[in-house]
């Protein structure tokens, strides 16, 4: 194997796949990146057996072949090399020689045969989406994924694709976010699966503000591909909770608020919320809201704010972190808060939005 490429291309490739390199040492070869030659390109692959990333970069191939190279060492070397062409040559005993300008590095690799076989994409199948749309939708739901490993079905986002509707839902048991968008075209690809949050976090790093993304399913894998990058992930096996049942239908009180003001009032008052519960109380009365928090033996805070509301008074307490997460993701100047009682979930909806988007937060007992 022998190829030459630009430093910037090689660095881009290594950095793209690097996040999929396993941090665990159970299988030593997983800390390597697999390099395979194409016609006039190099394919870099990395996997931790859950998420795999493949990136193709342009290169001049002098001799076909493949090798796996220790990821950390290799990426450190490439980053430090001068901005010139790099030549990579592999000799019989898996010894890799890097030549760049006046530097020469020799590094020991491992042969490809021990590297796991990654799932393959099926030609032109799947559905295509705008990368910006998908990026925006994922960002609006990923914050409410559960990190509690004992509730593994909640460790991912439920993605549903049906005809011309794309839907994503996530919940950690205390809050839930739901987003739905009507697509411009109808697809035959159907999806109704839970995708691990880790895969989506990596996908966010790959997605850009232009171009399309192809999504397809292959047995228990979901595959996202852009022209030069493919991300594959194992799906979470299990039944996602019945989210429709959790979203309140009948709503008694609707309150119009300014997103910015609500966010900053909460952020300020939460400074006096107790570290453990992080609970902030909201008292709504005629066109007014009072935000309060206190910690015994430390102190308390309160702030008044105008809201658009004419119903009966109601007081609810929420974990301030949950409120801040929602406010940061609403994406509109104003939002509507829908309440039933102080023991029922509150629904936060953007006032006007291109999406059908809402966040549900379960209150804290007062």
């Amino acid at each position: 194997m022998n190829f030459s490429c630009k430093k910037s291309d090689l660095l881009h490739g290594v950095q793209t796949v690097f996040n999929a390199v396993s941090s665990r040492n159970t299988l030593p070869i997983l800390s390597n990146i697999l390099f395979e030659t194409g016609k006039d390109s190099i394919k870099l692959s990395a996997t931790d057996l859950e998420v795999s990333i493949i990136c193709t970069i342009p290169a001049m191939i002098s001799a076909q072949g493949s090798i796996t190279i220790p990821a950390k060492k290799f990426s450190d070397i490439v980053r430090e090399l001068p901005d010139k062409d790099i030549n990579v040559k592999v000799t019989d005993n898996n010894l890799i020689t890097l030549n760049c300008d006046k530097s020469i590095f020799k590094i020991n690799g491992l042969p490809k045969d021990e590297y796991p076989v990654l799932p393959k994409t099926k030609g032109d199948d799947g559905a295509n989406f705008s990368q910006t749309l998908l990026l925006d939708m994922i960002r609006k739901v990923i914050f409410s994924v559960s990190t509690d490993e004992t509730r593994y079905v909640l460790n991912g986002v439920l993605m549903v694709l049906e005809n011309d509707i794309m839907r994503m839902v996530s919940t950690d048991g205390h809050r839930l976010s739901f987003i739905e968008q009507k697509l411009s075209t109808t697809t035959s690809q159907k999806i109704n699966n839970i995708i691990p949050a880790k895969a989506l976090q990596e996908l966010i790093k790959i997605l850009s503000s232009e171009g399309e993304l192809n999504i397809q399913l292959n047995e228990n894998q979901i595959i996202f591909s852009t022209p030069d990058i493919t991300l594959m992930s194992r799906l979470i096996d299990g039944q996602f909770p019945n989210y429709e049942q959790v979203i309140p239908k009948k709503v008694e009180k609707k309150i119009n608020c300014s997103t910015d003001k609500y966010l900053s009032a909460t952020r300020r008052v939460a400074l006096m919320a107790s570290d453990k519960s992080n609970s902030v109380k909201y008292m709504f009365s005629q066109n007014q809201m009072l935000v309060t928090a206190n910690t015994p033996e430390i102190g308390e805070a309160q702030e008044e704010m105008e809201v658009d509301y004419l119903g009966d008074s109601i007081t609810v307490a929420y974990n301030a972190k949950y409120i801040l997460d929602v406010m940061k993701n609403l994406g509109t100047d104003e939002f509507i808060l829908e309440l039933t009682s102080n023991l029922n979930p509150g629904v936060f909806k953007p006032k006007t939005d291109q999406y059908n988007y809402l966040c549900v937060i379960m209150p804290m007992r007062i």
Binding site: D148, G173, P241, V246, S279, A317
Partner: protein, 386 residues
């Protein structure tokens, strides 16, 4: 204006309660102790102390010293009840009350003379009320600070009242051995004696700087105390930081099934007390003393704060597995709940009533226990053949 602090200490509290419950014990040597193989003496009457029996002494030794002593196994729920009633009486005389343990506490009387008369007569009234209403003797020390008040109540025992007038503190303490000062243990006492410091009076005459250079910052506090200076306020008891229970076994154990049974019992008790005090715990800690006396602790932080038997048991069971990796039999097992949070809870979105059912179950069990005693309700797995 100098402060006026009372230190109130019930005399031989456990024994006194036993005697109220069973007057035939009056005048006889009495030892309160579970009386089993490795147990220690929880309390001894003055009659038993005459034979050399002391609190915290191994029971076997106490029995050798005073074989004729009557042994009470200890009735902690009765002690708690009497203690509560005692503090209820004290609450009447000042809002500033600091319980130190079941049988002693400080009371700040500074502002209360206008209501209850001069300190000495008020103390006499309190002493009489405690005797009339509870049948217990209390000794009371009165001084301008907590330190001197405590020493005064000690000296007034049994059933006495001793008041040290403000300004007389240093003179009162001067002839006492330095071992009377809080924090001066046998080791420090020897060190001080080697330096020629035998009495509190000698210590008081030394310069602060000298004491600090030899004994560090603690030396400076001792020097203050020796002169009868103690500015610490009377504070209501702080909220609990942790709640725990442990058990020392009669015979060292290694059987997983047996240990789990003990664990379930401990977990239920800790959970019961958490609920009783309106707390939830985030961190469960398992304490293990092995047969070789080495002490290990393992802890686990939970995803959600809890006060339910099952959750605490599950967490401690995982910790027990870790503890058993050391293949050594176990002498003592304890569970404690740390990182306590208020009960104010985050409600669950996906819960389909299970939470509420558990809540109802535990509330009902707790009500039964309050009425008929802790033993009246138990998990089926804990019921042993008697």
């Amino acid at each position: 204006m100098p402060r006026c602090i009372f230190h109130l200490d019930l005399d031989v509290f456990f024994v006194a309660v036993e005697r109220v419950l069973d007057p035939s014990l009056v005048g006889k040597p009495v030892i309160v102790s579970p009386g089993t193989g490795r147990s220690v003496v929880a309390a001894a009457s003055y009659e038993a102390r005459r034979f050399g029996v002391r609190s915290a002494m191994p029971f076997a030794q106490a029995q050798r010293l005073c074989p004729q002593a009557l042994v009470c196994p200890g009735n902690f729920s009765a002690y708690q009840k009497y203690s509560r009633d005692f503090f209820k009486i004290l609450e009447h005389y000042s809002p500033d009350l600091e319980p130190v343990s079941l049988d002693e506490g400080y009371l700040d009387f500074t502002q209360c003379a206008a209501l209850f008369g001069p300190p000495l007569s008020a103390a006499a009234v309190i002493q009489q009320r405690v005797k009339d209403e509870l049948g217990l003797d209390v000794s009371i020390g009165i001084a301008a600070n907590k330190l001197v008040a405590k020493i005064a109540s000690d000296m007034s025992k049994p059933a006495g009242i001793l008041r040290i007038l403000p300004g007389r503190d240093a003179a009162f303490m001067a002839p006492m051995p330095i071992g009377r000062l809080l924090g001066v243990g046998p080791k420090t006492e020897t060190d001080m004696k080697q330096l020629g410091i035998k009495t509190i009076g000698t210590l008081a005459r030394l310069s602060r700087a000298d004491m600090e250079s030899v004994f560090g910052s603690q030396g400076a506090s001792w020097q203050n105390w020796a002169r009868g200076i103690d500015p610490s306020p009377v504070l209501p008891r702080e909220r609990a930081k942790s709640i725990g229970r442990e058990e020392t076994f009669l015979i060292d154990r290694i059987d997983r099934k047996e240990l789990r049974g003990v664990l379930q019992e401990l977990a239920s008790d800790v959970a019961y007390r958490l609920r009783g005090q309106g707390f939830k715990t985030r961190t469960v800690c398992l304490k293990v003393r092995y047969a070789d006396f080495s002490l290990h602790t393992h802890s686990r932080t939970l995803a959600e704060p809890t006060h339910w038997d099952r959750d605490i048991f599950t967490a401690s069971q995982e910790l027990l597995e870790k503890a058993l990796e050391r293949r050594l039999s176990i002498r003592l097992l304890g569970i404690s709940a740390h990182n306590l949070a208020d009960e104010r809870v985050q409600l669950d979105l996906l819960d389909s009533g299970q939470h509420e059912r558990l809540d109802r179950l535990h509330t009902a069990a707790d009500r039964l226990r309050k009425r008929y005693g802790y033993e009246s309700v138990a998990w089926a797995g804990l019921i042993r053949k008697k």
